[in-house]
């Protein structure tokens, strides 16, 4: 019988232990490298089973953190590390783990620094899991910043061209966020006389002098992770230069941490003084959305198009969070689940096609005609990604949009326009890849995914369809 007391710590520990194993293994032989990969994959899959078990243990419709675990860290000052989950955070953890498995599929034949890749990825996974199970502000801060270390190293190793400049930029923005967040955390600690629990943070009432500073510092640090203008530039610069699908997936998870921060920190009842700034943020968000959607539409770079898609959805989710309606928050979680899986699978397939194109030395125009299995999966993912009823994006986006439109029709219409543009961008890319008339004869030698790969992708499609039928289909009795 599993001891539920430590299960949340366990899901942080499993990838960490996998990382330790990978770290101690030798890299010089092929078999060892394969072993590192297999153990890493096993660690992620084992964690998925654990997460599924946690879904069974909690009441998915109950608000607030459950399965609380508290560890005493320091007595003076009295700082505890507290873990807990609700359906939102657990769905995010599950989606990230599935995204990792998909990402692992994309790097299974990688021969460049495979050990480092696995070690740092697992460390990141451990940190990001810790971030989502953190139930007090100190734990939140530790994991919020802790995940940057592996990310920073991954960018440095696999960030491709112009990486020095990009890493400086990455560091600049994130350091700024880290410092602001740290000051706000310490301030709140002193103000409240102890570590603040995350589920009570939204109800906290501060006097007007400090609330400007506290919320301002926290929100700027969270925004530095989200591709909202002008922060979009570093994320787009990084994303458009990453060729490794697993790193791309990892870097795409970073904005999610910012959005999640807003879910936890945005006060339930906004003080009037802050409401003005939220409105300004909404304006910046919709302008950024339209801006990125337009650039994605005209840009020919595949990765930028992908970035545009990712950005538009993240900002839409942020706008949804800013409505502060509980049912919207729940739907954002359901929608995020499919969204992360779709983005990961699209990126893995795109990167596979890129490798095929590179090895054959041809253009990738029409390449999908040569690989019917991938073509079917790619079409499915694009259709699901643009919001057709093939995943939970469809229904949940509907509910998010209905709230946005009800709150402000002009803002809602700009969001809709951006969604249309970015969907057209994805379709544009799909039709370019399927255009038989532009298929180079040499490209017909491109290899389709093997049976295991296709079976896995079919399983991913199945998961998406099931998430449409019932978002929590895998939770028995939900």
């Amino acid at each position: 019988m599993l001891n539920t007391f430590s299960i949340l710590s366990l899901i942080i520990a499993i990838p960490f232990m996998g990382m330790l194993f990978a770290l101690t293994a030798r890299e010089d032989e092929n078999a060892s490298t394969r072993n590192i990969y297999n153990v890493s994959l096993f660690a992620v899959i084992a964690n998925i089973v654990m997460i599924w078990r946690i879904f069974m243990l909690i009441d998915v419709y109950k608000p607030g953190f459950q399965l609380i675990e508290t560890f005493n860290w320091m007595d003076a000052p009295d700082i505890n590390i507290t873990f807990g989950v609700d359906v939102f955070s657990l769905l995010m953890i599950l989606a990230i783990h599935i995204a990792f498995v998909i990402g692992f599929l994309g790097v299974r034949n990688n021969l460049v620094r495979q050990k480092s890749l696995m070690v740092l990825s697992l460390l990141f996974l451990s940190m990001v899991t810790g971030f989502f199970v953190a139930a007090d502000i100190f734990s939140f801060y530790i994991f919020f910043e802790g995940m940057l270390l592996p990310l920073f190293m991954l960018m440095g190793m696999f960030g491709e061209i112009r990486r020095q400049g990009l890493i400086h930029r990455f560091l600049l923005y994130n350091m700024l966020g880290a410092v602001l967040f740290f000051v706000a955390t310490v301030f709140l600690f002193n103000y409240q006389g102890g570590a603040v629990k995350l589920d009570s943070l939204r109800q906290i009432e501060l006097n007007s002098t400090v609330e400007y500073f506290i919320w301002g510092a926290i929100f700027v640090s969270l925004l530095s992770r989200i591709p909202v203008w002008p922060f979009h530039y570093w994320i787009s610069s990084i994303n458009s230069h990453i060729k490794n699908p697993l790193i791309f997936i990892i870097s795409s998870i970073i904005p999610l941490t910012g959005i999640y921060g807003f879910v936890r920190f945005l006060p339930k009842h906004l003080p009037d003084d802050l409401a003005v700034y939220v409105m300004i943020l909404q304006i910046v968000c919709v302008v950024t959305m339209l801006f990125i959607a337009l650039i994605g539409f005209i840009n020919k770079d595949r990765q930028y198009k992908m970035f545009a898609y990712i950005t538009i959805y993240y900002i839409m989710y942020l706008l949804g969070v800013l409505t502060r309606v509980d049912v919207v928050l729940l739907n954002i979680a359901f929608s995020f689940f499919s969204y992360l899986i779709i983005v990961s699978a699209l990126e893995v397939i795109a990167s596979y096609l890129y490798k095929q194109q590179e090895s054959l030395g041809v253009s990738d125009d029409g390449i999908l005609c040569a690989v019917p299995g991938i073509s079917f999966v790619y079409s499915f993912l694009v259709l699901a990604g643009i919001g057709m009823p093939l995943s939970s994006l469809f229904l949940n986006n509907f509910l998010i949009l209905s709230n946005l439109l009800a709150e402000n029709i002009k803002m809602g219409m700009i969001v809709v326009c951006s969604l249309v543009l970015v969907s057209a961008t994805l379709l544009q890319e799909l039709f370019r890849l399927k255009d038989r008339s532009r298929l180079c004869p040499a490209a017909t030698a491109a290899l389709d995914l093997d049976k295991a790969g296709l079976a896995f992708m079919a399983f991913v499609c199945f998961v998406l369809i099931m998430s449409f039928v019932k978002p929590l289909w895998f939770v028995l009795g939900a």
């Binding site: 419709y61 930029r169 600049l172 203008w229 002008p230 530039y233 787009s236 801006f291 337009l294 650039i295 539409f297 005209i298 840009n299 509980d326 049912v327 729940l330 079917f376 259709l383 643009i386 919001g387 057709m388 009823p389 093939l390 469809f394 229904l395 986006n397 509907f398 509910l399 949009l401 209905s402 709230n403 439109l405 009800a406 029709i409 809602g412 219409m413 809709v416 969604l419 249309v420 543009l421 969907s423 057209a424 379709l427 039709f431 399927k434 255009d435 038989r436 008339s437 019932k470 978002p471």
Partner: protein, 553 residues
Amino acid sequence: MIISIFLILLASGFLLPLVSCRSGGKAVSFALLLVLLALFGWFCGCWADGANEPFVIHWLRYKDLYVDVNLSSVPENYRLIFPVFAVSVSAALIAVFGSEENSGSRLVGSIFLNLAALMLLICSDNLIQLAVSSAMAGVTGFYLINDLEARSRYSYYNLLADMGLFTVFAVIYGHLGNLDLSELGRFEQDGAHRDLVAVLLLLSVFLKSGLFPFHNQLVGLSAVSFNRLNVISWVSTPLSGVIILSKTLPLLSVSEYSVPMLQIFAVLTMVWAFGAGLIIDNIKERAVYFNLMIYAYIYALVSLNDFDVGFRLAYFVLAGYLLSAVFYMVFVASSNELFVSKMGNFFRSLKFTFLLSLAAFVLFFRIVLSGMEPLNQPWSMALLTFAVMFGAHFLHQAYWGAPNADERVAALLKNPSWYVWLPLLAIMLLLAVSENGWHLSVAYAGAALLLFTFADPFCRLERLAEYEALQDEDYFEKVFELLLLTPIRIFGRILWLLVDFILIERTIINSLNDGTAFLVKTASKLNASAVWSGVVLSLAGLVAMVVYFYVRG
């Protein structure tokens, strides 16, 4: 019962890719056809028995959101599902036995899923089910089209339509907090953004049905097989547009723009389809234009609030499919000859086909005339006139005109096989004995058709078949490209250059870099020279003191 058929269709459609293989493709498609026929028989049997079983399943229940799925076996649903089912069976029969398709089983699988989507749409009683089924029909349409160019055009139009509907439904839900279609009346009373809702809804359904000026997507379908074209025209997205509008009729009265908009689009479509249909040489495009005239007429009737969707739409779907088949039969009989200008004098070899075509037209006239009332008389007369002229021009060109067919086509000319005409004959019999009465005016219309067929008043238009500028050029595509896409591209490029490149990269980031470099350089100089740094630091201290005392007053 409908739920059982729906689930079987869905399961068969999804399982098809798993069992379909090249070697057994024919056997699989034949088995699927048998399943479809059996389901159709079951459906008709239950309808005849008067089965009436409400079926509502609670799909989603969280917080204050309730979403149901309605698949009730009630007479209204049976009536509208029937023609969709009948057309699907006919198309599946052609797909399995015909030679036009490389992979009949894939088409039959898509037909299964399409039928399931339409069933869901017809039974909808809430906004979510309507949106889901409409988008599902869009997705199955995507897979029904096997030509990239046509598919891409179709996808863009449908994306816009679905997003439009999505927005309309989201606004309504955001305002009413309720998803039931029966609650739309409340929006009529105290709805917000009424004009936006009505206009967006109409534009979306026009996009779905391919009304002028959004007809390009349907005309572009001439690249797919004729059978697929007929399925898409009559039991896919264009029909879903009409059904969606009929389900959301209370929304039309929320804005004063609705009725004029409907009528303007209907007139433009009807006139354009008639004109283009007379000129265009491609037989598939001609069939599309004929279909568009019928859709325009249906929308016009909706604008008059004079259209019993559950009853008359069913007849129009069957009659419309019959008329599409008139073009299809000539196409098949002439060894898939695509251009009408290369036909002529087919009557000798295709007497049976000609008679079937005449019968199809007469039945169509009957359907139009039986619903004619003083209110819709101008529209009905316009449609009849256009249909007579259009049909006569085509029949004359194909059956009576000068023999322009090449030797191969002339030698292989023969009536279509049983799998083409048998289902059509069944549909004709059904329409002939349906409860609508026969009018003398039907005979007049038939006589007019025959008269104009023999003495085609538009025969001079045949020479336009040689003008490439008329036949091949896609002016609407160019207009959309020029007025819509080019400004978006230019605007996007300007933003990219101005904001991303000049403002952020060259101004903000470069300034930060330069500022940091200046600070570093200054600091290193301060360290390097003791005298110079002493002077500078003393000056800085002095300035700080002056500022401090100045601020303190």
